[in-house]
Symmetry: D2
Subunit: 384 residues, 4 copies
């Protein structure tokens, strides 16, 4: 099952780490640490292998992937020896990264994306292409009347307005080109009625939002712990310090607000009430691609006794995100092959702010993911 993975933001940290990692796995130079789909509970025949994956993407920036990879190696994100060993393979992927279309109406730009996707699929004789958005987080998009209906949307895109934020324009183009779409960012992406209808028309699955890699991952197991023990969480405060491209982008208050909102939903839904406290994101250039999150939880036990817990998470965001990008591409490709359509709620395990949010508890999300994957394997086996 030859599968295209088209990365929007293909020269960013997450994308570069995903590409280097997949190439290294294919070459047998590394193991699948961090790849959830390689766990015994999920592994199986329905998923394309790493060797089946072909990478391409869009990015406005032109820095060669090998140069980005060198920088990530210097920052301790990638092993320098891997980057050195994969020079030729990285150069090959470089040819498949197109400049992000920037001219003409939004309809023109969408058409250019569709053309890029179609040409990529044809050129490599791919069974399908999964589009994954790993570009910079956008500010929350302003509403527009054409957001509710695909036909109104098509008409509006041809006009002079910026009708859609970039993430949604990519989703529009992906669906138009018959490609499933995954949003790894908190941006709007496919979350507009017009796009949901469009995906349905084309019978396409999609997934999102916002890869769950650090503080929220920990929250998704700690909050259920407090709930299962009937302990009352009085406050939950978080400080997130991060450098890197994503950190610089989040220094913009609007992007920051979008990210915080995406992080904040979880507690209320798991606990059944919203504890006091705030989540902050601050840019600290010196941290590079690493993120330090510190959380303080105050809680009350039996007879109201006050207690507290704090944790510090010091993670490399790109190294945490990249294997999930590969997992999502493989799972979404398999879902598409199996005829799944609409929002893939069973992939909630991977997201801070999951579509159709069935649950925010990691353990429950895991159970759903395991059942979902088992079904794909069973169907695939049946079909084989």
């Amino acid at each position: 099952m030859r599968t295209g993975v088209w990365l929007v933001g293909a020269r960013g940290s997450v994308a570069t780490t995903s590409i280097v990692g997949a190439l290294a796995l294919r070459a047998g130079l590394t193991g699948p640490t961090g790849c959830v789909t390689e766990l015994p509970e999920l592994r199986g025949p329905a998923l394309p292998s790493f060797a089946d994956l072909v990478f391409g993407g869009h990015d406005p920036v032109a820095t060669p992937l090998a140069k980005r990879a060198d920088a990530l190696a210097a920052a301790g994100v990638l092993p320098a020896r891997l980057v050195a060993a994969l020079g030729a393979e990285l150069a090959a992927v470089d040819h498949e990264v197109r400049p992000a279309p920037a001219d003409g109406s939004q309809a023109d730009r969408a058409a250019a994306v569709v053309a890029d996707l179609t040409a990529f699929r044809d050129r490599h004789r791919l069974d399908r292409v999964v589009v994954v958005n790993v570009s910079a987080t956008e500010p929350a998009a302003p509403p527009h009347p054409a957001h509710t209906d695909p036909d109104a949307l098509a008409a509006a895109l041809a006009g002079p307005d910026e009708v859609l934020p970039a993430s949604s324009l990519y989703a529009y183009a992906a669906f138009t080109a018959g490609c499933p779409y995954v949003d790894f960012t908190p941006s709007t992406g496919a979350r507009l009625p017009a796009l949901e209808t469009l995906a349905a028309r084309h019978g396409l699955p999609y997934a999102g939002h916002d890869g769950k890699t650090g503080e929220t991952l920990v929250k998704s197991v700690l909050a259920p712990m407090f709930a299962m023990r009937h302990l009352t969480v009085r406050s939950w405060s978080g400080a997130n310090l991060l450098g890197g491209g994503d950190g610089a982008n989040l220094a913009d208050p609007d992007a920051n607000a979008a990210k915080v909102r995406s992080k904040d939903r979880l507690l209320g839904e798991i606990l059944g009430y919203v504890p006091q406290g705030h989540t902050r994101i601050d840019y600290v250039e010196d941290l590079g691609d690493f993120k330090t999150a510190w959380d303080l939880v105050t809680f009350a036990g039996f007879l109201g006794t006050p207690m507290r817990m704090e944790f510090t998470w010091h993670g490399c965001d790109s190294a945490l995100a990249a294997p999930l990008v590969l997992d999502l591409a493989r799972l979404t490709a398999a879902a598409h092959a199996a005829g799944r359509r609409g929002p893939l709620a069973d992939l909630a395990f991977f997201f801070k702010d999951p579509l159709a949010a069935p649950t925010h508890s990691l353990a429950e999300q895991w159970d759903r993911l395991a059942r979902f994957t088992a079904a794909l394997h069973a169907e695939h086996g049946g079909a084989a």
Copy 2:
């Protein structure tokens, strides 16, 4: 369903907090925070109500419960107003706390315990008495040939040797008196073949070991998180600082070793390998009934990138333990009423070192507990 709760170590911190809490709940002076069996998912008709519980127990120490409770209030464990309001009720329980039998052969002491249990059950016309061990942690017990067989055991107890550690002698007496037995401590308790056979002969359920209240509770959700994400835990180190009676007792190296062993099993079983690192327990008198645990976890992600997490847990051990003691008494009473027998593996949720350890993942333990409780309620409903 009038249910006796017989606490071994009835004047200790955990016992006193359990008793004050149950009396306060019965009087409507407090809510059930921390009581797992009061969560909507577990609540139901099969469990005795708080008003159904009658307390008694053994302790070598004679300090009145009200005095212990005052000390716990001064230490911030209990609200002073509750202790003040419950003076009469506490005095009533005081009459049901017997000195721990200390004279004669172990057979004589076991007989004295049986007599106390039987008299208590009769005096209060109780449907059953659940014996819960919350006494000081013992050093690991030396093996003895009579540990494998109930008849050999009965014979040996009549002799001059200290054949059984105290926790096991209480289990022996409990089973002999027809009482289910719960071990909230890491001590040997019912974990001897002779006692398991004895419980089977009497058709009795039992549960244990070592209430899971702090660092291990957190581990039981964090370790599965690393496992579900296919992240490699390189090391996991823990420093536990605690004061209070339990802390003083654990300053004894042998008791400490028993406790650490009980804490250490979890990681290997959840992760499938044993990471580097040590767990330490140190006595720091100034911490009183609070415990501070600090854990450092180093882990490797995609392509081997090294990352780290640390957490500090600052919990009031008795306030965390007491509602679980009530939960265990209620659940074990209901299990007994429903004819369950043998080790209650479905209560693993409550223990650091669960009997018949089906799993150490808190989420999976929760699922088992929920199914177990639902079955009890369903049977009870059917019977009603």
Copy 3:
């Protein structure tokens, strides 16, 4: 040396804790923990004794001190037994707390404060009255042309404008009444040219700004450590979570900004460069009078090796501040008695943002304080 201590904000947490503590010390009910002036290195004859101190003050709020003290006892700030034992003494101080003047022009209000101060001094036959501002932090004050000259200021105050922020109006009144003034808050206080001239005219000393009690105290020893070791601090980020009245007030963005500015000066001055990073203050009601500060410091060592340090401070702000308020009142009274005038730079030890900031290193501040106090004692001894 009978000394009045006039607290602006006399019913707040810091003021109430100061009063209860001084009364308890006088009554021999507690020891001088936290009182710097009771250390062997500083103690001596020039300072008024605790028994010499007489309390009064202004506050717009009318809650009796005993009620505020009860609330602080419930919150774990004050021992309940002390509050109970000091009922009569607290009621006596209550009579000396006046409503904050609120009517008329600012000149009228200043005159009312002068009258209150003078009457208090006379009524109690005090040698002097030290005015200490412990009221809520103000937003930064807008500039006004009359701020540069005392005569222009006197004229402007008689007009309809709010020429001075409250803290400065109190400083104006204090100086007019011949009283030294201490600002324990980050508010403007005496920091206006007109007020500095006024203090000089009256030959009065004054001190400030912003009592150093938590994160900044720690910074004032850690930053010199990095400097003395020639380690390069790359970033220093701080998250401050606090409840209580001060916390609620700081939830106001302007007051917050004033406080953060006052905290931020230190690093640049000690290190000689400003590292990356931000200081945040967030209100978390559940923390009550306690504050949790978390700081992350990243630094580079030999050959650029990156390292990191983090600390969590969990302090009771009022309990840390109150003994310093007493120290400052005693030291400022002694300085006044010894004829010191102008800004007391030697009291920098006590402040986040010291007047005439000679140094921010705590150890150097300590040396200055010790020399300053020794001189006062020596002169006093000579005079005796």
Copy 4:
């Protein structure tokens, strides 16, 4: 002033980092971050320049320095580009590292060390050689009657006994060869009456013990902070996790005990009382040359209010130690040149367990160091 730096343990992590760093400084490839003697307050003409330093040493291990340096680069301790650039220079130093003498009586071994030192000094026409012990920490040495007198010692060394631990045998040889001696480890070194007398006879200065690089450095500023604020430290507990060669060595309980003792003296001396709590050192291989220390301090403020502070230090031990080794070599050489003799108490700034311990407060140690260095520069200027 051509100065030899003779490193006992010359192939260890600290030694290798010191050598690479000095060579890089000499070649202008790096800056003096971490070098205290390069601060404006200490810099000056009395100290040998980096270009004046010539390295040699003893080690039983034969691994070439370049190989050790490569390993340290892979572990993130040294920048790989520095190691690559300094290949020739490292090979040159390699020729000056001799196998640690292992045969014959202790007198024979001492004579071999003396011969190595003398030949090194002559071969390079050095003004002097400073011997610095950076070898593995020894267990505490058993007492021996010959430890009190140099002549008895000389006699005993010729016999078959292991009279001196290795660190002391090196000190003996250094003094015999007319070389000042610095002990960067907690081992016995020069701390025996016989050796002190010997140093005095030869008019030699010496310094030690145990370089202060992590937890203890932080303690030496935090403990004075609590003392200066008259806050009562109730408990101070520390967990030290470290990998690397030093960590593996400290896994040995006896070496561990020596190290803990050396760390524990400080608190009692700064605070005037010994708080509760323990210091633990645990080996965690995965941490490599980095050390994570976690400390919990509980303290009481005004009216006894309980508070707490914790810190985590994550430092690269070798990168912290190496510049201090260079500082100590330069300062001790200058002291020798200036005719200082006996224990250099003014170098306490550098040590966990300083000789003639004048004070443990870092700020006071800094003041002494600055005065000491200023005097050396002044004398040197006078002499020039």
